[in-house]
């Protein structure tokens, strides 16, 4: 009892040390002099209530963890699952799932025509983050490489399109391809040397790389416009139909004239949304295929035991490099689209904070999990919009959330379930496999779960 009390007092004291100076006092410039002021009442009351909470928590720590354990175990018991049952449900579900997915996509495509312009615009932004989250998820979640300079590839994509358009006048769709390829190329060039390094070195080197790209963009003023950025980047067109009131390019017809309808800037917003949706669907498709391919299996194997991989003839660097390059390509696509949507880019949009937000999305959603990433991206972009006052605290919460998630649920909210190839054995002992999308030789059947 006594030690408990002292522990609690000590913890409270630590909290007061952490907060009293930095939170309780504020530095103010008064002319040339620097003065300190005692913070206003609300802050002091925060400190005091924080201290009380820490004291109580430490004092009743045993009881709290006991109670937590109990609820956990009772929750665990409530869901009895036998393997056979599980297998059955998943196979029945797969057909249902496809139908549901079709309806979802159809719904998402129709939705913008009934929604307000602002919310469609916001949804487009969310889709960009979904794409970035999915792309980074390949690198971090599937291949287990911590890339803190992901925003660098995003910048490469955005600037490739902006510059190629400025100097050579290429359109969005060519730019999309070029942006993705150039970002992938950068990923390859950077990854080739650094992927031999240990994980934590990789994290810092990629962080440094992201910063180098930003510094270069800021200082190569002649080429990139420096801090002023590049403006008037054209929006995507639909087979040559522009979404502006008047065609900017010679010979092009604006969309509304072609279809003989009244001009509305809403079409442009909806079209951007649809393009983003298309890109996200393509991303999801590609990642789903990758998971079922040898390379997807190699990523997981390498994450588990790289020495065994080497002994089986897998080239560690090549396998990692493929994840790094593919991830970078998606950042490039997202970057190109971002440049087209904003119409204006500057190095400001590509700071480390952006990398951190994308990483937070991956971490929150569950490393490797796609649905998790999508949900996390939605939460992360919508929350600050709905609670404006929250915006100020956004990064603080993200940081806290990352620490908290790693301690509590490192696998994320929706941990990933990789599609495992499974085989069925018929009672007679004949090997047989079945498959939804894999027809195999003879009478063999493979099923994916």
């Amino acid at each position: 009892m006594k030690t408990r009390f002292f522990n609690a007092i000590a913890a409270t004291f630590v909290l007061l040390l952490l907060t009293s100076m930095l939170l309780g006092l504020t530095l103010e410039s008064n002319g040339t002099e620097l003065v300190i002021q005692v913070a206003e009442g609300t802050r002091l009351s925060w400190i005091i209530s924080g201290a009380v909470i820490v004291f109580l928590f430490q004092f009743f720590r045993n009881e709290i963890s006991q109670g937590w354990q109990n609820t956990r175990s009772s929750m665990g018991n409530a869901v009895p699952t036998s393997i056979s049952e599980k297998v059955k449900t998943t196979s029945q579900l797969s057909g249902l799932k496809t139908t549901a997915l079709c309806f979802l996509v159809a719904g998402l495509m129709i939705w913008p025509f009934f929604a307000s312009r602002g919310s469609v615009d916001l949804a487009t932004l969310t889709l960009i983050y979904i794409m970035l989250g999915l792309g980074l998820n390949i690198v971090v979640g599937l291949a287990g490489l911590l890339d803190l300079g992901y925003v660098g590839f995003y910048a490469v994509g955005a600037y490739s399109y902006a510059l190629l358009n400025m100097y050579f006048g290429i359109d969005f769709w060519t730019g999309l391809l070029a942006g993705g390829l150039l970002a992938a190329f950068f990923g390859f060039i950077l990854g080739f040397p650094v992927l031999r390094l240990r994980g934590d070195y990789l994290a810092i080197v990629t962080l440094g790389f992201g910063e180098i790209i930003r510094i270069l963009l800021n200082n190569l003023t002649d080429l990139t416009g420096g801090p002023n950025g590049i403006s008037q980047i054209p929006k995507p067109d639909l087979f040559g139909l522009e979404f502006s009131r008047r065609a900017k390019e010679e010979g092009n017809v604006p969309f509304h004239e072609f279809f003989g309808i009244d001009y509305s800037s809403g079409y442009k917003v909806i079209f951007l949304y649809l393009v983003a949706l298309l890109l996200v669907i393509a991303t999801v498709f590609v990642i789903n295929r990758l998971l079922r391919m040898p390379i997807g299996r190699a990523w997981e194997a390498l994450r588990e035991d790289d020495i065994a991989c080497q002994s089986l003839g897998l080239n560690k660097t090549a396998v990692k490099l493929s994840a790094f390059t593919i991830g970078a390509a998606f950042a490039g696509f997202a970057g190109t689209f971002f440049a087209a949507r904003q119409g204006f880019i500057s190095p400001e949009s590509f700071t480390f904070i952006e990398s951190a937000i994308i990483l937070a999305i991956v971490v929150l959603g569950g490393m490797g999990s796609q649905i998790g990433t999508v949900l996390a991206a939605i939460i992360m972009t919508l929350l600050p919009e709905f609670a404006r006052e929250f915006n100020e605290y956004r990064m603080l919460m993200f940081g806290l959330m990352m620490v908290f998630m790693m301690g509590w649920r490192p696998q994320g909210l929706l941990p990933m379930k990789r599609p495992h190839i499974e085989v069925e054995r018929k009672p007679q002992g004949v090997v047989s496999m079945q498959s939804d999308n894999l027809t195999t030789s003879g009478n063999q059947l493979v099923r994916e779960v």
């Binding site: 391919m293 040898p294 194997a301 588990e304 080497q310 003839g313 499974e422 894999l438 195999t440 063999q444």
Partner: protein, 255 residues
């Protein structure tokens, strides 16, 4: 005699001042089972690590099918046809048994990105062939029922067998086993004995073996190398090695 499959000569490995392997030489011919024995810490696993590219030998040559492979990275040596198991089982524990065998076939499969993305017939055929091969070996090592289990959930003896199967699907010419019988019960050891002989007789694989189970070693080896304190002590047929005075001394600790 024909050219040996694997020939190492004057192999040396130093870590700083420590000489772990000192002038070791060995030969493996096609369809042979060769064992390396020696007391604990004699440097047997270090020899393995040098041969398979996990260490870069300080000096010496290693020829495999006439080609110098000393100092090549591990994955390249593996691709030339040498695969190994480890003293402590190294499976991909969170992947299924079947997937362990598919990963091992990575370099034999159609890994083209586009073929995989569009699920082309060529890609599907490659996947199906890999599955076939995996199933054959699972049947051989009697793990067919476990195909969908996570490898980490298998019993120890099963994990050992899976590790051998995982090596075999890579279609090696030389299989190197690091203490495969460690921790197995007598019945499992006997099965292992049969399996190793079958690999040589029916699958055209030579086997290089580190093992402490003398009954197993003496029973199946064509030739034996004895290493003590990093140096070669004796070599020859099981009988000659068994009666070699230095070997008896090293094992019984006489001076």
């Amino acid at each position: 005699m024909s050219q040996p499959l694997l020939e190492a000569s004057d192999l040396n490995m130093r870590f700083g001042g420590l000489v772990a392997v000192d002038n070791v030489a060995l030969r493996v011919h096609s369809d042979e089972i060769i064992s390396i024995i020696g007391p604990n810490g004699a440097g047997k696993t270090t020899v393995f690590n040098c041969l398979t590219g996990f260490y870069k030998p300080t000096a010496g040559t290693i020829r495999f099918k006439g080609e110098d492979i000393a100092g090549l990275p591990g994955h390249k040596i593996s691709r030339k046809g040498i695969v190994r198991t480890f003293q402590h089982v190294r499976l991909f524990k969170d992947m299924t048994v079947l997937e362990n065998l598919l990963v091992a076939q990575h370099r034999h499969m159609n890994t083209s990105l586009l073929a995989g993305l569009f699920n082309t017939p060529g890609f599907r055929r490659s996947e199906a062939m890999a599955l076939d091969k995996a199933m054959q070996w699972l049947e051989r090592v009697n793990l067919l029922d476990m195909a969908n289990r996570n490898a980490g959930n298998l019993a120890y003896g099963q994990q050992r067998r899976l590790e051998i199967a995982r090596c075999m699907v890579t279609r090696p010419d030389l299989l190197m086993l690091d203490e495969p019988a460690a921790g197995l019960n007598p019945k499992e050891t006997e099965e292992l004995d049969n399996l190793i002989c079958e690999l040589r007789d029916h699958h055209k694989v030579s086997v290089l073996l580190i093992e402490h189970d003398m009954q197993l070693v003496m029973g199946i080896s064509d030739r034996i190398y004895v290493i003590n304190q990093g140096r070669p002590l004796a070599s020859g047929t099981p009988e000659s090695v068994q009666n070699h005075p230095d070997v008896i001394k090293a094992y019984l600790g006489e001076t």
